[in-house]
Each structure stands twice: as C-alpha cells, then as structure tokens.
C-alpha cells in the first residue's frame, strides 16, 4: 500500500485493488497508517485521497538501517574480541598454566 502511495496519491478503492481483503479491513489499516503519521487523507466527503507522508516513514527506515549498521559494527568488534580471547588462551597454554578455560580473566591493557 505504501509502495503504491510512493508513486502518488491514491483513493481507497485504488489502494484496495491489489488486495484480497474487504473494504472495512482496508479502511481499518489506513486508519492505523494515518495514526502512525505514515499517511494523511484528504477531507472531501466522498473521495478522500491518501497521501504518503515521507518524513515519519523515512525516520523509521533510517533507524532500521542504522540498527543494521550498528549490528554489523558490533559483530566486527565481537569478531575481533573473540580472536583476542582465543589468542590469549593459546598464549596462556603455551607459557604457563594448563588451563583450557575458554574464559580468560579480564586483561588489563
């Protein structure tokens, strides 16, 4: 529905066309999207064209992309940290203790 609106304003009938759901269901969903600020609707009594509100949707999409980037970076750090822990375990095994613990004590830099 939002994809259709990204091409331009549309009436409820036009929006409903591709979906196999009832008009009341469509209306209910539009009300939710309107409540979320994702769309606005015209005020003519019969024909109330829906308009996509770009800004709120963009903020949500930006946040999701940001979230993904954040996790990619987090995974990068986790990867480096795991390598560091494992090299530490290896060093400990060679140099001193027969400890095979996968959880070395916190190291001071």
């Amino acid at each position: 529905m939002l994809a259709r609106l990204s091409l331009g304003d549309a009436s409820v009938q036009e929006l409903a066309q591709p979906f196999q759901i009832s008009m009341p269901a469509i209306s209910k969903h539009l009300k939710v999207l309107e409540g979320a600020g994702l769309i606005t609707r015209g005020r003519q009594a019969q024909f109330r064209p829906c308009k996509l509100q770009v800004q709120p949707l963009k903020q949500a999409v930006d946040w999701m992309e940001e979230h993904r980037k954040e996790w990619e970076q987090r995974f990068d750090r986790l990867d480096a940290y795991l390598q560091e822990l494992q090299s530490h375990v290896a060093n400990t095994q060679v140099s001193a203790a027969p400890s095979v613990s996968p959880t070395p004590k916190k190291r001071k830099k």
Partner: protein, 165 residues
C-alpha cells in the same frame, strides 16, 4: 495486520560455540564489544537470568549518551537468548525512540547460536513486542521499505512530492 516477518542479521565467527555464547552472558565481555564502532560502553549493569534486567549506557561520538534496557525472557545455554529490547533513560525507564516516536517501544530480540563449519553462527532477530497497531505499522513499513526495494526512492521522492505541490 500484524508483523509476520522479522528483521534479522547473522554472522559466522571463527570461535567455538561455548566461547561465543559466553561473551553474551557477562558484563565484562559485553562491555568490550557491545558498543558499535566509535562508541564507549560507559555502564553495563547486567542480570543474566530469566526476568533479569540489563541497563546500559553507550556514549556515541560527540558525548551523547544512549541508554538501553533489556529484560531476559528465555535463556537456553549455548543455544538461545531471548530478551525484550528498549530505549531507556538514566533512571532505567522505558522510553520511545528519540527520532521515530511511533517506532515500537519494545522489541522482541532473539539471539541464536549454532555450529557452522568450524565456527559459530550468531543470528539476531527482532519483532515488535507488545506493540500497538501504530507501532506495528511503523515497524512493518520500515522493514518492507528496506526489503521491498522502494527505499532507494527516498532520496528522490521528497523532491518529487515537493514538485507536485
């Protein structure tokens, strides 16, 4: 219309499963990697048990503090950690996303661990949690926009819409 498909991300690490799981379970480990690049984990109060709450603070470049809160729902050692993820304030109260007020205040986050070759695959999956219709619609719209291929239009669409008015 509730969310059916989650948002997820995964990565395979060259480390044994027990170790990868372990670094998700202790504050001393999380403090080392949980903050994204360029950030500093200033506080990580951890209570790793079902019902336990984590409260943390990540300082992003520029000195801005971002507080977060996690509540554990399910813990299956070496397999799965399920928690509720929220934005928070210093007092530990749940808050909304500062820039996207209709973004779900609570997200259901599942982290799974599985052996993948000689490494360990970690998958993190999110869904809105106890979300109202508006929050769910916002999540769905963002996810669909990202995966549905019309996110690329955003750069042009504002200009285009402005030209129509």
């Amino acid at each position: 219309m509730s969310s059916v498909s989650p948002f997820s991300i995964s990565r395979t690490f060259k480390a044994p499963l027990e170790l990868v799981y372990e670094v998700h379970t202790k504050a001393e480990h999380l403090g080392k990697w949980f903050g994204p690049a360029g950030t500093v984990v200033k506080k990580f109060e951890m209570n790793f048990f079902v019902g336990g709450v984590n409260h943390y603070c990540i300082e992003i470049p520029g000195g801005v503090e971002m507080w977060g809160r996690q509540t554990y729902l399910e813990i299956v050692p070496n397999q799965k950690i399920v928690h509720v993820q929220s934005f928070s304030n210093e007092a530990g109260e749940i808050t909304h996303h500062p820039m996207s007020p209709t973004w779900p205040a609570k997200m259901h986050a599942t982290t799974t661990f599985e052996v993948d070759g000689d490494g360990t695959k970690v998958t993190v999956t999110w869904l809105p949690y106890e979300a109202d219709e508006v929050e769910t619609a916002t999540f769905d719209a963002a996810r669909d926009s990202m995966s549905g291929g019309f996110k690329g239009m955003f750069d042009n669409i504002e200009t285009y819409l402005a030209s129509l008015q």
